[in-house]
Amino acid sequence: MAALEEGFTLTAVPLGSGPDGPLGVEQSDKTDQFLVTDSGRTVILYKVSDQKPLGSWSVKQGQIITCPAVCNFQTGEYIVVHDNKVLRIWNNEDVNLDKVFKATLSAEVYRIHSIQGAEPLVLFKEGAIRGLEALLAEPQQKIETVTSDEEVIKWTKFFMVFRHPVLIFITEKHGNYFAYVQKFNSRILSKYTLLLRQEEKSAAQSFSASVYRKFISLMSLSSDGCVYETLIPIHPSDPEKNQRVVRSLLLKSVVSGSARSGVALTILDQDHVAVLGPPLSASKECLSIWNTKFQTLQASKELPQGTSGQLWYHGENLFMLHGKFLTVIPYKCEVSSLAGALGKLKHSQDPDIHAMTHFVNWETSQGYGLGSQNSEQSKRILRRRKIEASVQPEVPPSTQLLAAVQKDSEKHIEVELRKFLAVKRTPDFHTIIGDVVIGLLGRCKAEPSFYPRNCLMQLIQTRVLSYSLCPGLMEFALEKTDVQILQLCLQQFPDIPESVTCACLKIFLSIGDDSLQETDINMESVSDYTAIIQDGEIEEQTEILQNGFNPEEDNCENCAQELTEKPQAAAEESTSCPVTGKRAALLNAILHSAYSETFLLPHLKDIPAQHITLFLQYLYFLYLKCSENATMTLPGIHPPTLNQIMDWICLLLDANFTVVVMLPEAKRLLLSLYKFVKSQISICSELNKIEVSFRELQKLNQEKTNRELYSIEVLELF
């Protein structure tokens, strides 16, 4: 349930604004401080919780600010544009805007965008986009024209998608709307034509957008009072072509269709939008929060003194002009649930806000807003926090490294990487490492010959990477069948999905011995026991004394018959490792990895039968080796534990039992495994019996020592 809280005015004195209201409200680099730009000549920095201005800057008489001031989060400076072309940059200490840094550009600026974690971007009126740094390096550079004649930018927004900046802007030409999406990781500008349905010949009045999974959800509030949603793919299938996207009705009649002006729309989170405008034609203007998932009105607040039809949303505050005053209304959106929407959950009702009951026609609204099932709470807020956490003063080696990744040679990247790793770790170290890996992978995909193996190994060994931080890495290594990297990943990553673990297992089992021979694999988990194996020597003694118990002597008649057929082979099987040392090291990495049975089992079924048999043979071998000593452990530095071995044997048999039973070569293995497990069970039961006898002995022993119930001793007391 969403709620609007008691609002408050930010300024005691009315803004010196024209009829259009302020130009913009933008966040500054400190929380709770906002830059308010009025449409005249003034920029004011407000601290919202204190409701007071912290600073005010004005341009000279005759000049006029044309673009709202923003804060450059990387430097903490403020940027504003006046007279369309003149860029001013200043900071808190500056008093007079005339004396601060000035750059005159060659084209007219539409907006400057700045969000945390990214370089500010300048959007020109002709649709060209420049980074601020590039622009300041050469202010008079030529700015190309992207949009056609008479095409006017109506609205624009800048956000981060998976740590990459994306800018979207909407243009209008003769009642047709176009959306341009600029992605900065690929430098692709995609153009979309927003198609209106035939019957809906209405002009869009206000836009808002948010990112939902792989789409930008663009919402528009039309002059007919309805909210429409358009889904624009972030990764277009064919970026060059002009594509068409259809908009669909999301909410019906949220504002009066006759409202000429003063309507605005803002997406608050995945399920909530804020709408500013008169709900009925005759009524006063209202600020309301709608739940798009359930199509219900969640909260509404009347603004009797009228608004300018502008609505800004930062953090948990909504900003709007109410009458002549800039008003802040804090709001709350909780996770929407059906119970909440239908009123089954109890909510503390704010007496100030009257929630209207709107009945929804579920038939007509079907398929518009109900599709989203992911009720993750305010993805956007979370993302912002993450970005905030990672914003740090830029470390030169990391930027250099990121730049190097994009274009330099493998050697050079290695040098840069070493430089970067040499400096002290910053809090955002792991995100940078993640970025570097993603950058490298991106380049690998683009250039098939480029494969910076050493760099990747070094990066994995920083021990800060995880599967989710660089999702493509293991897939890429699987593609390349680079078992060394896969082994490293298995050892280092805590969060490998079971499907990937299984894919690694498949590769490890199927890769040829000759290709394994060339690779350099960490053999630390496989110690001396494979050394024996590789020589092919059979040590008869080790075979007999497993925990002092010989499975050969077990009186399992049926099995014995089978086994006597090939006694030599059986003996060999129990002592020599069925796989080479390198393969054993790789398989041990699999044994050590974390998994969840339910997710692993289906994937294990896909492994070919002979590989299953081989793996089982290896596991059986390990089990025998384990049982050779009293502690039930394998020698070596980091060997697989008995539990891991047993779990994997059980898993493999669970997944492939029918197959394994049918295979003639696996039958003997199963029988010997069965016999051995049986003998182990009988050992355990014997041990339990012995324990009881020992306890009796101990009791007897105790009684002997306590026999002296009465004694007389000599004690010298002080």
Binding site: C684, N688, E691, N706, L709, I712, E713, V714, L715
Partner: protein, 590 residues
């Protein structure tokens, strides 16, 4: 009084304290009215089909929950009828057990009923709907006890595996008002069943078959890391269970259902420090006196001359006369005990065995003159008006003039036995008295308290002695104050008036009042300095507290004569060996 429902399995007093519920073998739940002078039957609740093993009141006193076999009933107190019958699943790990016994229930003010049962489950029920809300399987064996904190934000359960689990009501997410019960901490301090648990504001207390009482402080409630934050394990009752007839060298041991009388052995050999001497005569087990009926023995005493034994159960008082004829003992019960001698909390004989002092559980003290084979009631000291406190510790002066008696909190009263009147009252102290004794000759009363303070009070002067004032001014050594167990017995050396001998379960100590007191910098446990050291060094390192930890756990220690001490050890292994075996856990295989 009889509840007329067969054995009583459970009892619960109402939150207001005016009513008592009793759960009986025949499945009846009976409500009794408690008035200051009597307990009166009020009415029966709907009868259930099997025994009622646990009972709990709703904090408002309107409903009760009763745990039976296989189900829990919720009753409305006003109507006495069962509102809900909540069936407990017999299944245990997929195996159907024969019965599921609900060992414990707790009713919370929000209507939740928590149950603990023999299938190892702790379950949460909604008493309004009679439905199961949540199930925690916590043990392979019975969950036997449950206790809820006063704030109802945490509770504790004890299992037959010796484990104690702490459950807490915690927020689902931080800052969220929605809370749920979460099993937070397991504690394994017991080897056997945990039969009873209690939840104090700052600690979990558990006790069970292994005879230990464990106090586990809740670290989050402890503000300062001090001695109170330490885990405490209490093994022995803080009472004297052994009495000694010094002249005849007899020891009387008190067990739950019998008394044993032993004559100490003797030796003719001598030896040096640390030697164990060969026995010329072994210790003799003279008498094994079984009680009649099921009641436990509360207290017992043997007279200093060894010819009288007295003991008391909850409802009866017994006095025996012993006659020794060479190796034969003739035991003769003194019959026709007066009606006022129904039961006693503490019994004491005077030094000359001519008088018997009995502290009865109504707070009065009876003085009885013992004659050959009979007795005569001399006087009864009535309790101070307005107090209902019973006296639980007695001490008599060796000259027989003074009798000191202490309750749990109201100070120590000293009576003049000759004039049969109250002589004075030692001011009340915050902590209960654990041991009392009156020194010979000086008639100084030595009082040990549970906080390990020791006071010396001069009865003739009616004031604390100079030594007591000095030690109070300087304070006891911090290690002395941090001991776990209280002083349970104090005795004196007849020839050395400056010595006080006292002991707890882990040490005995001779306080030499003539030596300087130890301060916190000196070593408290000062082992005997080597004899080859010069006298000066020995004197410099010596202080008033001479402690020996040679015998532990020490149940009793007393001075038989000037040169003989008797110490009774009770090895824990012996106690454990007599316990039923705990639930066996396999060590090998799974």
């Amino acid at each position: 009084m009889d509840a007329f429902g067969g054995p009583i399995w459970s009892m619960a007093a109402s939150p207001s304290g005016s009513q008592l519920l009793v759960g009986c073998e025949d499945g009846s739940v009976k409500l009794f009215q408690i008035t200051p002078d009597k307990i009166q039957f009020e009415r029966n609740f709907d009868r259930q089909k099997s025994r009622i093993l646990s009972l709990s009141w709703h904090p408002a006193g309107t409903h009760i929950a009763a745990g039976s076999i296989d189900y829990i009933s919720v009753f409305d107190v006003k109507s006495g009828s069962a509102i809900h019958k909540m069936l407990v699943d017999r299944q245990y790990m997929g195996v159907s057990k024969r019965k599921c016994i609900v060992w414990g229930v707790a009713f919370l003010s929000d209507g939740t009923v928590i149950s603990a049962d023999s299938a190892g489950k702790v379950q949460f029920w909604d008493s309004a709907t009679g439905t199961l809300v949540k199930n925690h399987l916590i043990a392979d064996a019975d969950v036997q006890s449950i206790a809820v904190s006063d704030q109802e934000d945490s509770f504790v359960v004890g299992t037959a595996e010796g484990t104690v689990f702490h459950f807490q009501l915690v927020s689902v997410t931080s800052n969220s008002s929605e809370k749920q019960w979460v099993r937070t901490k397991p504690f394994q301090h017991h080897t056997h069943d945990v039969r009873a648990v209690a939840h104090s504001p700052i600690a979990l207390i558990s006790g069970g078959t292994d005879t230990h009482l464990v106090i586990r402080p809740l670290m989050e409630k402890v503000e300062v890391k001090n001695y109170d934050a330490a885990l405490r394990k209490i093994t022995f009752p803080h009472r004297r269970l052994v009495s000694c007839a010094k002249k005849k060298q007899l020891l009387l041991f008190q067990f739950a259902h019998h008394l044993e009388l032993w004559r100490l052995g003797s030796t003719v050999a001598t030896g040096k420090n640390g030697d164990t001497l060969p026995l010329s005569k072994n210790a003799d087990h003279l008498l094994h006196l079984k009680t009649k009926g099921p009641e436990n023995i509360i207290c017992s005493c043997i007279s200093p001359c060894g010819s009288w034994i007295a003991y008391s159960t909850a409802s009866r008082f017994f006095l025996y006369r012993l006659n020794y004829e060479h190796d034969n003992i003739n035991l003769q019960r003194v019959s026709k005990m007066p009606a006022f001698l129904r039961s006693a909390l503490q019994i004491l004989f005077s030094e000359d065995s001519a008088k018997l002092f009995v502290a009865s559980n109504q707070g009065s003290l009876h003085v009885i003159r013992l004659l050959e084979g009979s007795f005569k009631h001399l006087h009864t000291f009535q309790p101070q008006s307005g107090t209902v406190e019973s006296m639980c510790l007695l001490a008599v002066s060796p000259d027989g003039n003074w009798l000191a008696a202490s309750g749990t909190s109201a100070g120590v009263h000293v009576y003049n036995v000759k004039q049969l009147k109250l002589h004075c009252t030692v001011p009340a102290y915050n902590f209960p008295v654990t041991a009392l004794a009156i020194a010979p000759n000086t008639n100084n009363l030595v009082i040990a308290h549970s906080d390990q303070q020791v006071f010396e009070y001069s009865i003739p002067d009616k004031q604390y002695t100079q030594w007591s004032r000095t030690i109070q001014k300087q304070g006891f050594h911090h290690l002395w104050l941090q001991r776990d167990t209280p002083i349970t017995h104090i005795s004196f050396h007849p020839k050395r008036p400056m010595h006080i001998l006292l002991h707890d379960a882990y040490m005995f100590c001779i306080i030499d009042k003539s030596l300087p007191l130890p301060n916190d910098k000196t070593l408290l446990y000062n082992p005997l300095p080597p004899t080859n050291e010069s006298d000066i060094i020995r004197r410099r390192t010596a202080h008033a507290f001479k402690i020996s930890k040679k015998y532990k756990p020490l149940l009793f220690m007393d001075l038989l004569d000037e040169r003989t001490l008797v110490a009774v050890e009770r090895p824990l292994d012996d106690i454990i060996a007599q316990l039923p075996p705990p639930i066996k856990k396999k060590k090998f295989g799974t």
